[in-house]
């Protein structure tokens, strides 16, 4: 298992290094002058030249890459032209809100995707199975931002069930920043009203984010369980008189979960990607909203930092997924 982990880590470092080149190239192929764009057409030429020097944009490409990577490794992504602060400081401020959202959404899609899939498989070809199928089709075919807008309209504006803007309501005591995640911080300080309020704010965006992944996971869990149900070893257990309940739980679930875990990893990726739009819609002050705003303003330092942070999250998620799959499937770790 350890050597397997080592192999994955080496691969991850390679992928990140490659990605850093790709990101660097993207940030440097911008048509037009990023400095001129940041300062506006009115700025005098001397100021433009100064900033260009300051950003090392006057040096050859490989030198620029060296500056950028050595900064990035130390966690220094330069100054954001949008906020006029170090990008790293911005990231520190905004990242927890997105992590809270994406983690909560991932718990939702992991949990309910699994439950829906198991229910559909256990009662396959019944009305429940059909219900899950229709639900999953709607979930798979609707982009997160469409869910976000529709949920906002229905549950927020029409039925007034849940708040639709930001992380916490006016007049609620904001918990002190410990982890930066409102729900966790309010729980840690025992501030239950703030917890309830933060949770309410979290529901609509996270459900909107999780629908797609939840549906994919439900579908893959169902089909993999139904497929394994027809295998000889299940027939044999049935013939041996082992109760159906135990067969389902003990012999069927574990091997059937392998594709689910893989899809869960992809689901986390799509949840994070979806956050770039959903945070914009719900005005969620997170890293994804910061990133997309930076993209729309062509703030190159923000763009490259954003993409690199997302990549880093994914490299970690993928390694965890691989380890879980290796745990579930001995054939992989013994290879």
């Amino acid at each position: 298992m350890l050597s397997y982990l080592g192999k994955r880590l080496v691969g991850a470092v390679f992928v990140l290094a490659g990605l850093s080149v790709v990101i660097f190239l993207i940030a440097r192929v911008v048509p037009g002058d990023p400095v001129r764009m940041a300062l506006g057409p009115q700025a005098p030429q001397a100021v433009v030249e100064d900033l260009r020097k300051q950003l090392h944009l006057d040096k050859p490409l490989h030198v620029q890459y060296y500056y950028w990577v050595s900064g990035a490794v130390r966690g220094d992504f330069g100054i954001s032209l949008m906020t006029n602060r170090p990008v790293t400081a911005d990231l520190k401020e905004y990242l927890p809100a997105t992590l809270e959202l994406v983690l909560f959404a991932s718990i939702l899609h992991g949990l309910f995707g699994l439950i829906l899939g198991i229910v559909a498989a256990a009662y396959s070809d019944s009305w429940l199975d059909n219900f899950v199928r229709v639900f999953a089709y709607i979930g798979v075919t609707t982009p997160g931002f469409v869910f976000a807008v529709l949920f906002m309209l229905i549950f927020g504006y029409w039925w007034h069930l849940l708040p639709v803007i930001g992380r916490i309501g006016y007049g609620v005591t904001v918990p002190p920043t410990i982890t930066g995640m409102m729900t966790v911080d309010s729980l840690l300080t025992g501030n239950l009203p703030a917890f309830a309020d933060a949770l309410k704010h979290l529901i609509l965006p996270s459900v909107a984010l999780s629908m797609g992944a939840m549906s994919q996971e439900a579908r893959i869990t169902r089909s993999s369980m139904v497929e394994n149900l027809n295998k000889d070893y299940i027939y044999m257990s049935v013939a041996q008189g082992i109760p159906r309940r135990i067969i389902m739980r003990k012999y069927l679930l574990k091997p059937s979960l392998i594709p689910t875990v893989t899809v869960f990893g992809l689901g986390c990726a799509s949840t994070m990607a979806g956050a770039f739009l959903v945070e914009l819609i719900f005005n969620w002050p997170g890293f994804a909203r910061y990133g997309i705003t930076g993209m729309l303003m062509k703030d190159l330092n923000v763009i490259s930092a954003t993409v690199l942070v997302v990549a880093l999250c994914f490299v970690v998620v993928n390694i965890i997924v691989d380890l879980v799959v290796a745990y579930l499937d001995p054939r992989i770790r013994l290879q």
Partner: protein, 300 residues
């Protein structure tokens, strides 16, 4: 070389092929959902083609302002209502269908050949330098959610439909590389490939005439399902303004524009949102149908 046996061989496959097609259609049509999918796909394509001719107010797809008719609820005159400057929503949706479908078709038209060719090459030439380079580059692109990097690429370029397509294409080919790589590297050990090698067939012949035809079923399935994905990502890009630029309508842009007028003028955002769901859904139904069809073929 015109021996009777060869002539007979020539007529054989065509009859067989028709037979195979008929059986395939029979199997396909047994799955009601995928037939529904096929019908809606054809309907959407038809609407996209004739949309500009049947749109009640074709002029509204351009820079057009009619404040007297702004913010109209859905009615007989405007089925889906009008937007904040008086443009007919239905007409704009009909026009927007075109760019949504065009996005899917063009992105896949470029990404699929690139991915398939690199995948076959890497899969057949296992252990070569080509395999190493291709697969490591693929790993890098697959390590990050396609939409995030597509957003980043589109954002540094000028915002328009062409650059949005370019950005998604750059992110899309690696999925085909990995799919075909897996298939090709298992097919290369099959007897028919070995036989071709022994008769002295060139690497090109083996890769593209022997291996590739055997990869078509999963590729076709993925293309159909990916039409749905690419349309969704295209809508997401245009939602943040990195696609077709106003006043030309695009579905994502209509949703985000309309969202500013929620909840009172809900129709501005709800109808384009439903339109997105309705063009994505049938490609999924159809793709699932095709996948089941090929799975059935393998079982036989």
């Amino acid at each position: 070389m015109t021996s009777p046996s060869l002539m007979a061989h020539k007529t054989g496959p065509t009859v067989q092929r028709r037979d195979v097609l008929r059986r395939a259609w029979y199997n396909f049509s047994r799955n009601r959902l995928s037939v529904v999918g096929l019908v809606i796909v054809l309907l959407v394509v038809l609407l996209a083609v004739i949309g500009p001719y049947i749109a009640p107010y074709p002029g509204h797809a351009k820079a057009f302002v009619d404040f007297r008719n702004s913010n109209q609820r859905p009615s007989v005159r405007h089925w889906f209502g009008t937007d904040y400057i008086g443009r007919d929503i239905l007409s704009r949706i009909l026009f927007a269908l075109r760019s949504a479908l065009l996005m899917g078709v063009l992105v896949l038209a470029i990404a699929v050949p690139v991915g398939v060719v690199s995948g076959v090459v890497a899969g057949y030439l296992r252990g070569s330098l080509a395999e190493m380079v291709i697969m490591r580059v693929t790993d890098i692109f697959l390590a990050i959610p396609a939409m995030v990097l597509a957003l980043a690429i589109a954002s540094v370029l000028a915002p328009n439909l062409r650059n949005a397509m370019l950005a998604v294409t750059v992110m899309w080919w690696p999925w085909y590389t990995r799919l075909v790589y897996g298939l090709a590297s298992s097919l290369r050990n099959e007897y028919f490939v070995r036989a071709a090698e022994l008769t002295g067939a060139s690497a090109g012949h083996i890769m593209f005439r022997e291996i590739l035809p055997n990869c078509l079923a999963p590729i076709m399935t993925k293309i159909t399902l990916d039409m749905a994905w690419v349309i969704m990502i295209g809508a997401s890009l245009s939602f943040v303004g990195l696609g077709e630029q106003p006043p030309i309508p695009s579905l994502g842009n209509m949703v985000s524009d309309g969202a500013k007028y929620m909840p009172d003028q809900w129709w501005m955002t709800v109808f384009p949102a439903i339109a997105i769901m309705l063009i994505v859904l049938p490609f999924n139904l159809l793709g699932d149908g095709i996948r089941d069809l090929f799975a059935m073929g393998e079982e036989r």
